[in-house]
């Protein structure tokens, strides 16, 4: 009996150990390039580890049962007539309930930290002169953000392109340029069908819905060029509906912005 318990503890420890090791050492996600990303990755890691523990544990239990309790040639008759065990069933109802509750509360906390629970219409300067209803999105904030550093961009999505309007510069770009470590507020509208704005490296996505403007806020943290991908089926060229977001140093961004700002041309 002592031996059995020893092996059981050993197996459980191994399952936990392997799961934690994989969870902390195997990175399945792309580079983190926004304030959201490390917060998201924290949740991913927890879900990954819990998932591994359950999956490895259940697989071992099934494979072990098939091996250990397989019917030998000389065996006849049935297994034990065990129809239930109330205390065991209560335990394996309560434990998953607690795990699910903890995961739910934790992910709520993560979502709140990502700005998901914040009122969207506050602090969005584009809304001050506009009474139209804005549908939900993520209103991300960070501790180090400065309100006047916000950059507002209007995004138009259409089959099969994204266009980025910079209201202050009065120009439209096919590429989204943003300065690093600045909060970017995007008001997004679709000209035709449903599209989605997704930057995997930022861990953000928001549908762009015709007739219903949506908002997405984010703060990029790493200089580089990242893909903007349409994630909602929008027609034959859906797979080709991509754009780029270029995160650059503030000075580079200003150069680009000034170069593109509308200037009067005298004839």
């Amino acid at each position: 009996m002592l031996n059995k318990n020893f092996y059981l503890i050993l197996i459980i420890s191994a399952v936990f150990g392997i799961s934690f090791w994989i969870g902390f050492n195997v990175n399945l996600l792309p580079v983190e390039a926004s304030i959201n990303a490390p917060i998201y990755d924290e949740l991913f890691k927890i879900l990954f580890i819990i998932g591994l523990i359950i999956f490895i544990g259940m697989t071992i239990a099934v494979v072990y049962s098939l091996f250990k309790f397989r019917k030998r040639k000389d065996q006849f008759g049935d297994g034990i007539a065990l129809e239930g065990n109330l205390s065991l069933e209560i335990v394996w109802t309560i434990i998953p309930s607690i795990i699910v509750l903890i995961i739910g509360l934790y992910s709520y906390n993560i979502y709140d930290r990502m700005g998901g629970m914040k009122e969207l219409n506050h602090s969005h300067e584009m809304m001050k002169s506009n009474t139209e209803k804005i549908w939900a999105g993520i209103s991300q904030t960070s501790n180090n953000e400065v309100a006047n550093k916000n950059l507002s961009v209007e995004v138009s999505a259409m089959q099969f392109a994204f266009l980025f309007n910079y209201p202050k510069g009065e120009f439209i770009s096919g590429e989204l340029h943003v300065p690093v470590d600045h909060k970017v507020s995007m008001k997004m509208e679709s000209k035709d069908v449903i599209h989605a704005f997704w930057v995997p490296e930022f861990r953000i996505k928001q549908d762009i819905i015709p007739g219903q403007p949506t908002i997405l806020n984010f703060t990029p943290t790493k200089v580089g060029k990242y893909p903007i991908i349409c994630a909602e089926l929008c027609g034959p060229y859906h797979g080709g509906m991509r754009a780029s977001i270029i995160v650059e140093e503030e000075s580079d961004y200003k150069d680009w912005f000034n170069k593109n700002t509308k200037t009067e041309v005298s004839l």
């Binding site: 259940m58 007539a81 069933e89 699910v100 939900a136 449903i194 997704w198 007739g211 797979g239």
Partner: protein, 539 residues
């Protein structure tokens, strides 16, 4: 015994064609209708599988070079629709439900045999209509979700045929659901209590409740969508003041429960198979019943988790996160109970058992990613990506389709009186299990790293992983060959199985194999303990 079949029905049955010809007749025999569902569903599975193969061939290279992009969208729309509405739902509900439920309640047929036949005979013409819609000008290409405005603005003739077909299939489901509820509640053999019913009855009762409550919502939604397309009304068309998010709410009110409409019967079937082949009672019968009903109730209040990126308010995201995640609890109870059923048994390692155990492993994996997807922050990143494709296929293929195969191996001797070849069956399982995991496991990584779903072209960095996935799909296609050979060879030259080759205790095994027209020569047996293995009664 309470039997609702009138004498006219009985006379009709005696006039039915004999032999294989009866499967092409308008039969009222629940067993014939069950097999009709199964064979018809399998033919559509082959069509849907061929379309899946075409999708995977296209995705072996990053560019759209195997077929034009609009054809690709039409193929994926048809693939999804066929697999859900013509393969999985009709087979796990219609085929096995029709074959088994009257046996399990001790009846000679379903409560409404004619309605039953109508429910089946709606399927072949609807399915053919759906397949034919591919060949008209402008086939449906808005995905199986048919989200407006895309479904309104793409070419319309194919989309309208698609809607008509799905409406008819929905009607078939509703007829079937009503019939199952009536049969289980009203047609039980006197003395047979609800808590003595085999678990598949409970699963079908729960599933039928979901069908009856949610399918009409889909039907209404599609009718409104067809008005938008044909009559230019503005229910969902934003140009005319319509609201596209309302469509999503209505669509998912059916289509999320549809997942449980596919998996609950599979849960019921595996609960029948595991005790027989492990020679142990089903562990925790009562909690299994309550967990089915828990899944039914929770299944109706989780639809908006498909819309976390669609512009839903924060409170709604929070509510649907919690509701969705909590479905893991009743589901988890079932999995623990199945493992406990195996534990300490005398397990026969055969094709039916291997597919059932493969189901447990695959479904646990799919369930874990499902709990992750229920979390709003996690879902926002992976929504509409290959992560979701992978998760969904782990549930419906790794779960339900594995159980369909397991069930075919288990009940084949009952239907035909012949045993299937075990070596071919185990080969079928091995290729399917390896192929399935090779195909879908890597897709989780694709989704996490930036590959959206429903694309004919993708970033070249994903090519290698896509090729592995396509190799898995090829193996899955190949796995069908030993299965088909096995079916043909076993019907032709299979060993006689006797009436009850598994020494099972559920009622269908207590009659001849194949069973007579009205199931029993005399009175139906009263089986008080369908899982009484290891007890004196079983000896």
């Amino acid at each position: 015994m309470t039997i609702l079949i009138d004498s006219q029905d009985s006379n009709n049955k005696s006039l039915q064609p004999k032999g294989w010809l009866r499967y092409f007749s308008f039969s009222l025999d629940h067993k014939v209708i069950g097999i009709q569902y199964l064979v018809c569903g399998f033919l559509f599975y082959l069509i849907g599988g061929t379309l899946a193969s075409a999708i995977r061939i296209e995705l072996t290279s990053p560019m759209s070079d195997f077929m034009p992009r609009d054809i690709y969208n039409q193929v994926l729309t048809l693939h999804g629709t066929i697999m859900i509405f013509l393969w999985i739902v009709p087979v796990v509900n219609g085929a096995f439900g029709n074959y088994l439920i009257p046996f399990y309640v001790g009846a000679r047929d379903m409560a409404f045999p004619r309605l039953n036949a109508v429910a089946f005979w709606l399927i072949p013409p609807s399915g053919l209509m759906l397949v034919a819609s591919y060949f008209v000008e402008g086939a449906a290409q808005a995905g199986w979700t048919a989200y407006p405005p895309l479904s309104i603005t793409t070419p319309q003739s194919g989309q309208i045929i698609w809607i008509m077909s799905v409406l008819l299939l929905g009607g078939s489901s509703i007829f079937g659901g009503i019939n199952f509820i009536a049969t289980i509640i009203k047609l039980r053999r006197p003395g047979l209590k609800l808590m003595q019913l085999p678990m598949y009855c409970w699963a079908m009762l729960g599933t039928s409740l979901l069908v009856v409550l949610s399918t009409p919502v889909l039907a209404g939604t599609l009718i409104l969508l067809s008005f938008d397309i044909v009559a230019h009304t503005g229910f969902f068309n934003p140009v005319l003041g319509g609201n596209v998010v309302v469509y999503q709410h209505l669509f998912w009110f059916y289509s999320h429960p549809a997942v449980y409409i596919m998996v609950l019967p599979a849960f019921g079937l595996v609960s029948e198979i595991l005790p027989v082949h492990s020679r142990k009672p089903l562990f925790g019968y009562t909690t299994m019943v309550f967990s089915i009903m828990g899944i039914v109730v929770l299944g109706l209040v989780v639809w908006a988790h498909h819309m976390f990126t669609s512009g839903t308010p924060p409170w709604m995201r929070l509510f649907f996160t919690i509701a969705t995640a909590f479905i893991a609890v009743p589901t988890g109870i079932k999995f623990f109970n199945w493992v406990a059923t195996l534990w300490g048994g005398k397990i026969s390692i055969n094709s039916a058992m291997l597919f059932s155990c493969g189901f447990i492993i695959n479904f646990v994996f799919g369930g874990i990613t499902g709990v992750a997807l229920a979390q709003v922050p996690f879902d926002i990143h992976v929504h509409d990506t290959y992560f979701v494709v992978a998760h969904f296929h782990y549930i419906v293929y790794g779960g339900t389709v594995f159980i369909i195969f397991s069930s075919i191996y288990h009940w084949f001797p009952k239907v035909t009186g012949k045993l299937m070849n075990e070596k071919l069956g185990i080969l079928h399982f091995a290729i399917t299990f390896i192929g399935f995991n090779l195909c879908f496991a890597p897709q989780h990584w694709l989704g996490l790293n930036g590959m959206p779903r429903r694309v004919a072209e993708y970033d070249p960095q994903f090519q290698f992983v896509n090729q592995i996935s396509s190799l898995g799909a090829l193996l899955m296609a190949i796995s069908t060959i030993p299965f088909l050979i096995n079916i043909y060879a076993s019907i032709k030259n299979g060993k006689d199985s006797g009436d009850n080759p598994w020494d099972a205790l559920t009622p269908e095994w207590l009659t001849t194999s194949p069973p007579p027209v009205e199931n029993w020569e005399g009175e139906a047996p009263l089986v008080e303990e369908p899982y009484g293995y290891g007890k004196p009664i079983s000896k």
